[in-house]
Amino acid sequence: MVEMAGGPQVAQRGAETTRNAPVFLPAADIYEDATALYLALEMPGVDPDALGITLDKRVLTVAGRSRPVTPPGYSQTYAEYRDGDYERAFTLSEAIDADGIEAVLTDGVLRLKLPKAQPAPAKTINVKAGG
């Protein structure tokens, strides 16, 4: 069982950003099977180069920076969404094979596959008879 900590407070708890852009929490789908943990995060407007994923001990942090879109010569007349940055952190309660993490960004959705670390095989210790 993998327990997820990291609610809506996480993005705001850290230090202030130097950019005057809002920081959003990307909506996430998280599921797991016997071998891996899967995450899908919605980050529209983020380039693959402007995306950072770090796993520090058991805290997985995903941060993305969206490029503001302003068509040259045009002015905004109506707005329902804002360009901004995305950040979200998750605490994993299970060991993850950090070298085997796969991350793919397609159509504004970041998909992460975090393979579970194989537990060390049980070791039998031979006992020698003392003298």
Binding site: V23, F24, A27, I30, Y31, A34, Q76, Y81, D107, V109
Partner: protein, 147 residues
């Protein structure tokens, strides 16, 4: 019964100030955009000399799965958000915050659009629709000649 106006007399509504602070904190921290809007996709509209550009956030939706129609000055965006097929039957879900299912939106534009020249593209989950104004519809400068 005597009613007190909140803010002028703290004894009238002892929790009003606390509640207001709580509301403000909730608003500040609940910046999750997906839950906030019921209309999908959220759109921005840009106006320029040659027409209008409509941008919409459609994460996870491919451009060829989006159906765009233009009729006079109404733009309609239709499509379906399909869940990932990766999860096998034995997978267990921990969080499901993304929304799925069909969506449709109609946007009224400030003028009729030349439907033949409408262009659409999608980059990183952001749909951008260029809607040019027909030449005949553009405002024209009228030369004034003195008689």
């Amino acid at each position: 019964m005597v009613r007190y106006v909140a803010g002028t007399d703290l004894w009238g509504e002892p929790l009003a100030t606390l509640r207001r602070i709580q509301d403000e904190v909730n608003r500040a921290f609940g910046d999750q955009r997906a839950a906030a809007s019921s209309e999908f996709p959220p759109v921005n509209v840009w106006r320029g000399p040659d027409g209008v550009i409509v941008t919409a956030e459609i994460p996870g939706v491919k451009l060829d799965a989006v159906d765009l129609t233009v009729h006079q000055n109404t733009l309609t965006i239709k499509g379906t958000r399909v869940p990932d097929g990766e999860a096998g039957p034995e997978a267990s879900h921990h969080r499901r915050e993304r929304m799925y299912g069909p969506f449709a939106r109609s946007i009224e534009l400030p003028f009729a659009v030349d439907a033949e020249r409408v262009k659409a593209q999608a980059t990183n989950g952001v749909l951008s629709i260029e809607l040019p104004r027909p030449e005949s519809d553009k405002p024209r400068k009228i030369k004034i000649t003195q008689g």
